[in-house]
């Protein structure tokens, strides 16, 4: 171990010799979260009692996080293939072919629990972890996105959590030099005790130089690079650490601490090494640290692996084998190198001031053997750890369908639509999130064509080319709670719509399934329903799921979060100059509504929640065939330069979308609507599959829509400095802006 960066911390020491390993008892096994049947399986597998280190390794590999034991059966039902998919789920991230020798590498991952305990570090290390998943595969990260859910704004903790999470995302992403270009933030009492921090990274790689984790080559060196290992994050939150402490030393908090500076160096060093032929396999040390990286690399390669933990670069002396195998210290990677290429790696990592150490080698034994101080601390067969992790077909119940909503809600004429709009625009879920995204560097890389707030999806140019990636994160949890299947379908459809709205061809998605306790049949029913809906939508829209993450047990005191299957979607635009934003661009243009012309669906709408105090009725139905027709029409219109602004209709419906377009462009609109259209349903209903477009060629748009079988109709004209709604209302944009932009900063400042 050499090449240590000057100034790297050496923690104050209270213990210099490793503690004695405790004897493994049934109670200790249970405290590691192993169910009774899993404990029996462990004994049978070993033919003896597990050692302390072995128990730690097995319990980590069989944890829900690593094994997907509750969700795997259902995850398998998601479509994962398409001609453009280079690598689907199972690797560090998904890979899709972009043509011209380039590939997009992306994934989304949750850091929910750590972010609730320590919002800054929890969110920061969430960003760091997902970045590593992407550059591990040989991609340079080009964009970060996120999807955040917090408890109700009135909850005493919410303000602190929002401020900390946002600062953490910015603190990490800004420093590593990857632009944070998009995201979504919402509030609901169901997240009071369990916030959601889902982070997504998109990277770009040479399509012929993707790096995988399957180890190969008996005798090849196993090399550790990156930051040194400390006692942070050992075994997440599952351990009652006090009972395992051999002395008075308190264990480090279970939330890891991130160092984005080291991550930046690690990105550059890894990409530099990847340009050589030294690397056979590589995997980042994420959850369960050295354990999961070593087990998965050797397991996937069908080989064995021996590690000498005395060679691991450490931040503090006296760490046990158990601690070294389970530490979740950040900014670390494990690599298998080609024979005799260790010097190449050493030179590059030393140049970047990072630790590098050969800590073991591959064997043909099919076993993981871990040594510490000359003694064998673990000797486990790998196959059962990887392939025979327990899988559960947990019982589930489909929730009862929600009662239909009294149509009187939707048909109700609105005397003052402008007042209703004003109130909605200042609702926490609809208010501008500028206060959040101005804390993120959204431009570093100088390829951000459309950043936060500019469109339904972010657009980042492929460096040095005319093409661009579009990307978005989306989910409407209240729809998922009311009807999981429709909610799952809607999350995918809206992500697809967001990409179409900027003119991109949607290519693939990653998912982050956030749910409560799957051992409860009703929660399992939410998970199953959402996955079924997602699978159906992904098939109908040709959107393979190429990577994903599952976060279960998001419950506090028996109260679960709303089912939240976050979708991250990626698409491609052939010419960045065609990317279309949501801001109105010119006066005297026509605003048209494209897509569904139903009576206005108010069930589960924000309007109903704000004005009726109701979360009731079924969510809006999703017609996937109509969705596809409308999206393809929009893309055709954008490619033909017929539309100059586009925004999909989602939370808040027609008037909210229109106001967002007007505010972004600082340009008014006059809507010519008959009185019969001035109902709550028409103005604020959340019918799916719809877009608002600005056009100077309305006839061409209407003709194309008619030819495509997509309903479309003119609603009004751009111009002036106010939003005018028929004869009923006129509200200056300045007033709307004050409300829309004002809520979040005022709420953060309030004490």
């Amino acid at each position: 171990m050499t090449g240590d960066r000057t100034g790297q911390g050496t923690a104050a020491m209270t213990r210099t010799k490793p503690a004695e390993d405790p004897t493994v008892t049934a109670a200790l096994v249970a405290e590691h979260g192993l169910a009774a049947d899993e404990a029996v399986r462990l004994d049978a597998m070993l033919g003896r009692t597990a050692s302390w280190t072995e128990l730690g390794i097995v319990s980590a590999m069989w944890s829900e996080h690593c094994s997907y034991k509750s969700s795997k059966r259902w995850l398998k039902t998601l479509p994962t293939t398409a001609p453009w998919v280079i690598c689907g789920p199972g690797e560090n991230a998904g890979v899709i072919d972009l043509g011209d020798g380039l590939a997009a590498v992306f994934k989304m991952e949750s850091h929910n629990h750590p972010s609730f305990i320590e919002p800054y570090q929890g969110a920061a290390t969430g960003v760091g972890g997902i970045l590593r998943d992407v550059f591990t595969m040989g991609a340079r990260p080009v964009a970060n996105l996120n999807f955040l859910r917090f408890g109700r704004p009135e909850h005493p903790k919410t303000r602190h959590l929002v401020a900390g999470v946002v600062a953490g995302i910015g603190g990490y992403g800004n420093c590593v030099g990857v632009p944070t270009v998009g995201g979504a933030t919402g509030f609901d009492p169901a997240y009071d005790g369990n916030i959601l921090v889902n982070a997504m990274t998109v990277g770009v790689a040479d399509a012929n130089r993707i790096f995988y984790s399957a180890a190969a080559g008996v005798g090849n060196p196993v090399v550790y690079v990156g930051a040194r290992t400390g006692r942070d994050g050992i075994h997440g939150a599952t351990m009652a650490s006090a009972e395992f402490s051999e002395d008075a030393e308190a264990k480090r908090p279970t939330v890891q601490v991130g160092d984005p500076f080291t991550e930046k160096l690690l990105i550059e060093a890894c990409l530099e090494l990847m340009a050589t032929d030294a690397i056979v396999a590589i995997q980042d040390m994420g959850a369960a640290g050295l354990t999961s990286s070593a087990v998965e690399m050797a397991g996937k390669g069908g080989l064995g692996i021996e590690l000498d933990l005395d060679l691991v670069p450490t931040r503090e002396p006296g760490m046990t084998a158990y601690e070294l195998m389970l530490s979740e210290s950040q900014e670390r990677m494990l690599m298998v190198l080609a024979p005799d290429r260790a010097p190449t790696a050493r030179a590059i990592f030393e140049k970047w001031g990072l630790a590098v150490a050969e800590i073991g080698r591959l064997t043909d034994t099919g076993r993981l053997i871990v040594r510490r101080g000359g003694a064998v601390k673990a000797d486990l067969e790998l196959a059962p750890l990887v392939n025979e992790a327990p899988l559960y077909d947990r019982p589930w119940v489909r929730p009862p369908p929600p009662a239909p909503l009294d149509p009187g809600h939707a048909d109700r004429p609105l005397a003052d639509p402008a007042a209703a709009l004003s109130r909605l625009l200042a609702d926490p879920d609809l208010a501008s999130k500028r206060w959040i995204w101005e804390q993120y560097d959204s431009q570093v890389g100088a390829d951000t064509v459309i950043g936060p707030g500019g469109a339904d999806a972010a657009v980042v140019r492929l460096h040095g080319t005319q093409r661009a990636l579009a990307m978005t994160t989306d989910c409407t949890p209240r729809y998922c709670a009311a009807d999981p299947e429709t909610g799952g379908r809607q999350a995918v459809a809206e992500a697809w719509r967001n990409l179409c709205a900027v003119g991109a061809r949607p290519l693939a998605v990653t998912d982050n399934l956030n749910f409560g306790n799957p051992e409860k049949p009703e929660i399992m029913g939410q998970l199953v329903g959402c996955i079924q809906g997602m699978a159906e939508a992904c098939r109908a829209l040709d959107l393979p799921v190429v990577s994903g993450n599952v976060s279960l047990y998001n419950e506090t005191d028996g109260r679960a979060i709303l089912p939240t299957p976050t979708i991250g979607a990626v698409g491609l635009i052939d010419d960045w100059a065609l990317a279309t934003g949501l801001a109105l661009t010119r006066a005297d243009a026509t605003v048209l509504l494209v897509g569904g012309t139903g009576p206005g669906h108010l069930g589960q709408s924000l309007y109903l929640r704000v004005f009726g105090g109701l979360t009731a009725g079924p969510p809006p139905p999703v017609d996937l065939a109509a969705e596809r027709r409308a999206g393809e029409l929009i893309r055709t219109l954008i490619a033909a330069r017929h539309i100059s602004a586009c925004h999909d209709l989602s939370d808040g419906g027609l008037l909210v979308a229109l106001a967002e377009m007007a505010l972004a462009g600082d340009l008014g609109v006059t809507l010519a609507l008959p009185a019969s259209d001035l109902t709550a349903g028409r103005l604020f209903g959340e019918d799916q599959g719809r877009y608002l477009v600005e056009t100077a060629a309305p006839d061409a748009v209407l003709a194309a829509a008619a030819a495509a079988g997509v309903p479309a109709r003119p609603l009004g004209r751009t111009g002036g400095t106010a939003l005018t709604i028929g004869d009923a209302a006129r509200v200056p944009l300045a007033d709307l802006r004050a409300l829309h932009e004002g809520w979040l900063p005022a709420w953060i400042k309030a004490t």
Partner: protein, 221 residues
């Protein structure tokens, strides 16, 4: 124009400014590693934005003591133009090539947005492409851009025409006198918080930064 971009561990705008220089000036700049101690013959040295050395201790403080900075300071003394952008500006105040210091933003938060800038002195190789008082728009993206300087130095800066840019209307960080960028006495060294390299082509949504690189190329070729 022979230009070089100094690359520090943690620099993250080095590529962006190199792309801007090559695109506008037609010649790729050299990239010089922070551990080097010598520079080739140059007309322009760029200290790029980012988080050199993680911004540990203070933003720019460790970079100001990097091995290459000796060569940068020597070159500046010979009149080689030095441009410090964002973190580079912080390095220039830390190493003494420019007066003052850059403190944490008044709002205590990182801020990334496009702001208006009034151009000050235009008799420099950096700013000759603009009219004095002209308002241009460039992105800022920083946590430590609150420029402070002693009152007597401020008087000197103003009297000697050494204010390069002031925020026009929207001061994102609370800097003294709305200062966004300053020159050395010879106006051969410029430090500024905004990022001209992020506003050079239509894809950036604005091209006001291009004039700086165009003017440098014209003056130094």
């Amino acid at each position: 124009m022979r230009a070089a971009v100094i690359v520090f561990p943690g620099s993250n705008c080095d590529r962006d400014v190199a792309v801007a220089l090559e695109r506008i000036c037609g010649r790729a700049p050299a990239r010089v590693w922070h551990r080097d101690r010598t520079l080739p013959a140059l007309d322009l040295i760029v200290l790029p934005g980012g988080f050199s050395y993680g911004d540990y201790l203070r933003a720019g403080a460790i970079a100001a003591r990097a091995p290459i900075l000796g060569a940068v300071i020597d070159a500046a003394a010979r009149g080689v133009r030095v441009l410090g952008i964002c973190n580079g500006f912080q390095m220039l105040t830390e190493c003494g090539l420019l007066p003052g210091a850059l403190l944490r933003n008044r709002g205590l938060k990182f801020v990334c947005r496009t702001v208006g800038l009034a151009v000050g002195a235009t008799d420099s190789a950096f700013t000759a492409g603009w009219r004095a008082g002209q308002v241009i728009r460039l992105p800022v993206s920083h946590a430590d851009g609150n420029y402070v300087v002693e009152p007597e130095t401020l008087v000197a800066l103003e009297g000697e025409g050494r204010i390069a840019f002031r925020y026009a209307g929207d001061n994102p960080n609370g800097s003294t006198g709305d200062i966004a960028g300053v020159f050395n006495p010879a106006r051969t060294v410029l430090g500024l918080m905004p990022h001209p390299e992020r506003a050079i082509e239509p894809a950036h949504g604005g091209t006001d930064g291009a004039a700086m690189f165009r003017t440098l190329a014209a003056a130094l070729t």
